[in-house]
């Protein structure tokens, strides 16, 4: 067992807390029992003592009459074991029911001692083999102390009972402490075993099986929370990891060929000495290629990271779409496409301005790309049921039935016209819209044009 483990610590704390609480309870029980027993004895002693004193006072000087004295001592010594001694003011014993044989000397010295006291007192003392409880009281007549009375009773029974009680309680106490310790250990084991299970499971999770999950105990307690939190973390790690892999794959897929071309161009140029004009031409072409590579890389990065950074700002969507409307008009010029718009002012969303405009521009770019000369493109921005809705409609070539399920796949290029792009436009737009907790819908009929709609949740600012 680990000494620093929670199970061990909990057990120790249980045992310690119980031992302290248990000893306090048992101790107070013992003290109360003891006090009750002594109180009982003391009150019996004093009651008897006071009665004896009353008789003694009534008989007055007759105390010295041996017969009378013996008679009343006999009467009061009917209680078994009860000892009654009366002494005069000088401490000399004048009467005694002593049955303690050799102990008379002890009693005589006791009497001399208490004779000086003028108050009643209780005390315990051992005489011979037995322990006695004493009560003494001065006998006063007309304000003058004329003697001392002493009443005693053996309390061996009390002491024996008390010591029996102590041993019984000790046995109970020890077994209770042991029980608590084992119980505590068992409870702690029960409480920590799900944690151990989770730990074991997590140890087994590596990069190759990130999609595995920790079992969530349906206990509704902190352990369930912990397991769920772990699963959430695993989910995020898994998707981050997948994104990373996808990114690497995309980079390899998309950049390898153009890079090879670029290197080939440069290598060819370097095979022999050329005129500066030729170098210039090669460099310019290389720059164009490099720029295209950069664009592609940015696209792939956009796609990979559109879901990550979460710092959102209030975006004037109306202004963004208006800007893009102008871009659309310019893009449409070459094909003499008519761009119509219906952009409602004052629509705001929470998000990233550049990413959002990127998504909308991709839709516009597609619309113009796949629309024939003198066609028509429509850009709308509206508010429906609190959502901001951007609609890009064209009457172009549309999307074939076989292509439609694939339009959001990376690098998918439909069998459309020769103007095919990177194959990343729609996936990027979708990723951006989804990162804004929105939805992108694309509907198209081959030959009848395409409609792309972005739904964005309303701002709450």
């Amino acid at each position: 067992m680990r000494l620093r483990g929670i199970r061990f610590k909990l057990t120790i704390w249980y045992a310690l807390a119980f031992s302290i609480a248990g000893s306090l309870v048992f101790l107070s029980f013992y003290l109360l029992a003891r006090q009750a027993l002594y109180y009982q004895t003391d009150s019996t002693l004093s009651t008897h003592g006071l009665k004896v004193m009353e008789v003694a006072l009534r008989q007055g000087t007759g105390m010295h009459d041996d017969l009378a004295k013996q008679a009343f001592l006999d009467e009061f010594s009917k209680i078994p074991g009860m000892l009654i001694v009366i002494a005069d003011d000088k401490g000399e014993i004048v009467g005694s029911s002593a049955i303690y044989g050799d102990s008379n000397e002890t009693i005589a010295s006791l009497m001399r001692e208490v004779g000086r006291s003028d108050k009643q007192s209780f005390f315990s003392q051992r005489i011979g083999t037995s322990l006695l409880r004493f009560w003494t009281n001065p006998i006063a007549k007309d304000g003058r102390v004329i003697g001392v009375i002493l009443v005693a009773h053996p309390i061996d029974v009390i002491e024996n009972s008390l010591s029996d009680l102590v041993s019984a309680m000790s046995v109970v106490y020890v077994s209770l402490v042991m029980l608590t310790t084992f119980g505590g250990y068992w409870l702690a084991k029960g409480a920590t075993s799900p944690i151990r299970d989770i730990t074991e499971k997590i140890t087994k999770i590596g990069t190759e099986n990130l999609s595995e999950k920790v079992d969530v105990p349906k206990t509704g307690d902190e352990i369930e929370d912990l397991a769920q939190t772990f699963n959430g973390l695993l989910d995020r790690l898994d998707s981050a990891f997948k994104r990373e892999r996808q990114f690497i794959g995309d980079v390899a897929h998309e950049l390898k060929t153009p890079l090879a071309t670029l290197m080939g161009e440069i290598e060819l140029a370097l095979t022999k000495k050329r005129k500066s004009d030729e170098y210039r031409r090669v460099l310019t072409e290389a720059l164009v290629d490099a720029r295209r590579l950069g664009d592609t890389l940015t696209n792939i990065l956009d796609l990979a990271w559109s879901q990550t950074d979460a710092k959102l700002e209030r975006v004037d969507l109306s202004a963004v779409v208006n800007d893009l409307n102008e871009v659309a008009k310019k893009l449409a010029l070459a094909k003499r496409i008519t761009v119509k718009n219906n952009i409602k002012a004052g629509i705001f969303v929470l998000g990233k301005k550049d990413k959002l405009s990127r998504a909308v521009l991709n839709l516009i770019d597609n619309a113009i790309k796949y629309t024939n000369e003198k066609g028509r493109v429509e850009i709308n921005l509206n508010k429906e049921k609190g959502q901001a809705v951007i609609k890009v409609v064209d009457n172009g070539s549309g999307i074939g039935k076989t292509d439609l399920p694939h339009i959001f796949e990376r690098f998918f290029r439909g069998n459309g016209p020769e103007t095919a792009g990177s194959g990343l436009g729609l996936p990027i737009a979708q990723a951006i819209v989804e990162a804004h907790r929105g939805k992108l819908k694309v509907m198209g009929n081959s030959g009848k044009g395409t409609t792309a709609i972005i739904y964005l949740p309303p701002t709450k600012l």
Partner: protein, 98 residues
């Protein structure tokens, strides 16, 4: 070519006596090129200046705007006011104005 007049305070552009209507974006492109006369201004710089964010991966947007701008200011002759620096960007060189 000195007949092109740009008034940045009033957002006015004149070619000779003809008043040219430019959109704010077109105007700010022209203004940027003039302010950096004789420098080659890259597409990236232009997009960041005009749209305050960049159209990464869509550098042809600038070309489209440039084409529109040229058409509006009648810059379609053989000797152009705005020159294309292939693969890099655009430039307005002073000797063309002289």
């Amino acid at each position: 070519m000195a007949d092109l007049v740009v008034d940045p305070t009033r957002h006015l552009v004149k070619r000779g006596a003809r008043l040219i209507k430019l959109t704010p974006k077109e105007f700010s492109i022209l203004e940027l090129l003039l302010r950096r006369k004789d420098e080659v201004v890259s597409r990236t710089v232009i997009t960041e200046h005009v749209w305050d964010y960049n159209f990464d991966g869509m550098s042809n947007v600038v070309d489209v705007f440039m084409a529109a701008l040229r058409k509006k200011i009648g810059d379609t002759g053989k000797k152009k006011i705005i020159q294309t620096v292939h693969g890099v960007g655009y430039q307005i060189a002073s000797e063309n104005e002289a």
